[in-house]
Amino acid sequence: MEYVIEMRNIRKEFPGIVANDNITLQLQKGEIHALLGENGAGKSTLMNVLFGLYQPEQGEIHVRGQKVNITDPNIANELGIGMVHQHFMLVEKFTVTENIILGNEPTTKGQVNLKTAAKEVESISKQYGLSVDPNAKIEDISVGMQQRVEILKTLYRGADILIFDEPTAVLTPQEIKELIAIMKKLIAEGKSIILITHKLKEIMEVSDRCTVIRRGVGIGTVDVANTNEDELASMMVGREVNFSIQKKPSEPTTDTLEIKNLVVEDARKVPAVNGMDLSVRAGEIVGIAGVDGNGQSELIEAITGLRKSKSGSVMLNGKDVTNWKPRRVTEGGIGHIPQDRHKHGLVLDFSIGENMVLQTYYKRPFSRNGILSIPTIMEKAKSLIKEYDVRTPSESTPARALSGGNQQKAIIAREIDRSPNLLIAAQPTRGLDVGAIEFIHSKLVEERDKGKAVLLISFELEEIMNVSDRIAVIYEGKIVAIVKPEETTEQELGLLMAGANRKKAGETS
């Protein structure tokens, strides 16, 4: 059998870590081949090797039966390999066509020939059912459309092997459906696809075969038709995975967090949180369900002191903490796993060790009289790394060098270790694989069982339903309903999140 791409026994090392060890990947013509692995398992490294960004220490790459030496992305392009990146590489102010031809502009007499290019873009777009307007500006089109522009870019350059790097991470459910249709259309037109993902559902839905890697080692390739999600998950993680969280019924006691009539304005001075009442009791997890942009971010920022609230009050253990500064709030007993781990959660150029003491560096034992005790900091980091299974070459590795899941674990280790009375977890599992998600969920439940209050904000209903003891639905800056997960359904939550009135209002506390 001849493969369009065959990567044989690839090995790639980085200082202190073997990112790929003896991995073999064989892509058949006309198939969707999933590449499955945890965060940091080595998926991206493998694809960067294929794309010419890294040179492997060992192993061979064959494209259409020919041994090739891909030393830079241009060679990959010439071989018909195209990558649809997770983070789009588009110029916002340019039109779709301008972005697509960028770096490869067709010219007549030294002038860029936009009209011809636009026509060609349109015809490719039609052929694959992408329905992209070639003259629209990138800044005016949705994220889903932008992704299609990325797909078009590879097709325009003549790619017939497409690599999709976690394409669904940024899409809405509707857009995911459309993307899947597009991928099937691409296959029908004779393209071959490698799909990098850690979402098992998607693999089951679209792919033909699946290659699993774990901690840099190739585990094997399976036919998707002959497997199931559980098997894939255990191949990926190396053990059985619990999809549903094991937890006892909650035993809430007193109010830890009490928010009354809170109003918070967003950057445009529009009230994003508009008269909100909410309480979280010690020993329970309250999940906030809602569509993004209904005041979740502003609510968290107001509680944690990152944004001033306009009116209303925030009480923590009976103490008024409204508009306290972040440090006072932190010392008052709030832990915060921020929504954007790169922006707020970590100083990426600091070592993991330095990041572990981001809120405690000025206190004993990490410093005395303004002098840091670096050995103590590093000892602390070492023990947290071990306890929370943060996979890093060492505690002095820069946070930037870690995979997303391990960065998140580092933040969680830091926040939980301070043992706050109230733990705010904003999208704590975004972009993480099942193993890491399971770990983080169990840590949240563990905190609850210790009698702490947990406030969980997530856009994923499944997560809200699984983890929460109570669900507060947020809509236009207000809590419009409070329900118990066992007494509701995802459908009902979906309706409430869209602003529908609850039929059985007043039935639950």
Partner: protein, 352 residues
């Protein structure tokens, strides 16, 4: 070529840049009809051959180290202090003023007091751009450049109005504030070497210690890397921006004190900038913004400048050629990206 990447790049890039700078300088000499081997031999002798030039080199290094530290310190906190020149001038004046005004003090009190005054003056001068940046987001590059001109003319006006002595300059400072040392002058065959180099080395140690070993340094670096995460961590971002500029300005002011208390012992009415503050940018760049790197880079630049004098008298090569060499070195450090690119190319050719 692997040395160009990763942790060694902070060393290999500058070293390679210096080599390339000297090479290009040599080519220019050839084209201009000079013998580069003779010229470089003279340059080398002009730095190391006797105790006089060695003393002069160290003297030249002294203010460069401090102004380089000033730029590097601000840069570590994410700020670009182009105002070192102005802060240096006000520091120079302040040190001279203290040197003139106090009499009968022990040198052990008078010298630290004068250096402190210089540091405070530089710090206050840098406070203005820092404050504007922190409170109103005014870009520090613009304000620090403008503050240079303000400093130049304010300093001149003060000297003319209050401190003028014959020769468009101030009086000589009192001996008790002077860093000059007859001992150092005697050992170095009557060069102008003074005790300022001790101050500069202490400055480098202070910068290293402050940045890496204290909670203040932790905060400053954190704010420099990521304002949002710093805010999340409860660090006062605005305060740290101002603090960073103030400390940077204090280093710059101390650089001025080296001239005022050491090399000259007075201050003249300036027709133009000294250039030491601007050279600090180059020194910081070549020294990769580390305290130790700044000392090494200052040694190189100081040496080149002093060696150039010998090059002119022995090989008749104009001193300006050394300016070209220095400019080329900066060019190559700044374009280390280009060097990476070339090395990658070479790598590939080699492998295929």
């Amino acid at each position: 070529m692997k040395l160009l990447k990763g942790k060694w790049s902070a060393i290999t890039v500058p070293v390679l840049s210096v080599a390339l700078g000297l090479l290009v300088g040599g080519m220019i000499m050839l084209v201009s009809g000079y013998n580069p081997i003779v010229a470089y031999a003279a340059l080398f002798n002009g730095i190391f051959s006797n105790s006089y030039v060695l003393g002069e080199t160290v003297r030249q290094m002294t203010p460069l180290i401090l102004s380089g530290l000033a730029v590097a310190f601000a840069f570590r906190t994410g700020l670009f202090n182009i105002g070192v020149e102005g802060q240096l001038l006000v520091g120079w004046l302040a040190s001279v003023y203290v040197g003139l005004q106090f009499e009968g003090l022990s040198p052990l009190v008078h010298i630290p007091l004068a250096i402190l005054a210089a540091g405070v003056a530089g710090a206050m001068w840098a406070f203005v751009p820092g404050f504007l940046k922190a409170k109103y987001h005014v870009h520090e590059v613009i304000t620090t450049i403008m503050m240079n001109y303000v400093a130049l003319h304010v300093v001149n006006a003060i000297i003319r109005t209050y401190l003028l002595a014959p020769g468009e300059r101030t009086d000589q400072i009192n001996q008790s504030a002077s860093l000059q040392s007859s001992f150092l002058q005697t050992v170095t065959d009557f060069s102008r070497l003074h005790y300022g180099f001790v101050v500069a080395i202490i400055g480098a140690i202070i910068m290293w210690f402050l940045l890496w070993k204290t909670t203040t340094g932790y905060e400053l670096r954190s704010v420099g890397f990521n304002k949002y995460a710093s805010e999340y961590a409860g660090i006062n971002v605005q305060r740290n921006i101002i603090l960073s500029m103030v400390i940077s300005g204090a280093f710059a002011g101390a650089a001025g004190a080296m001239e005022g208390l050491g090399t000259y012992g007075y201050m003249t009415v300036m027709a133009d900038f000294t250039g030491v503050g601007f050279d600090g940018i180059a020194v910081a760049l070549l020294g990769a913004n580390s305290a130790f790197g700044v000392v090494l880079a200052s040694a190189l630049f100081g040496g080149l400048k002093i060696g150039a004098l010998n090059m002119q008298s022995v090989a008749q090569v104009p001193t300006q050629l050394v300016e070209i060499v220095i400019a080329m070195i900066i060019f190559f450090v700044a374009s280390s990206y280009l060097i990476h690119w070339i090395s990658n190319r070479v790598n590939k050719r080699g492998k295929i």
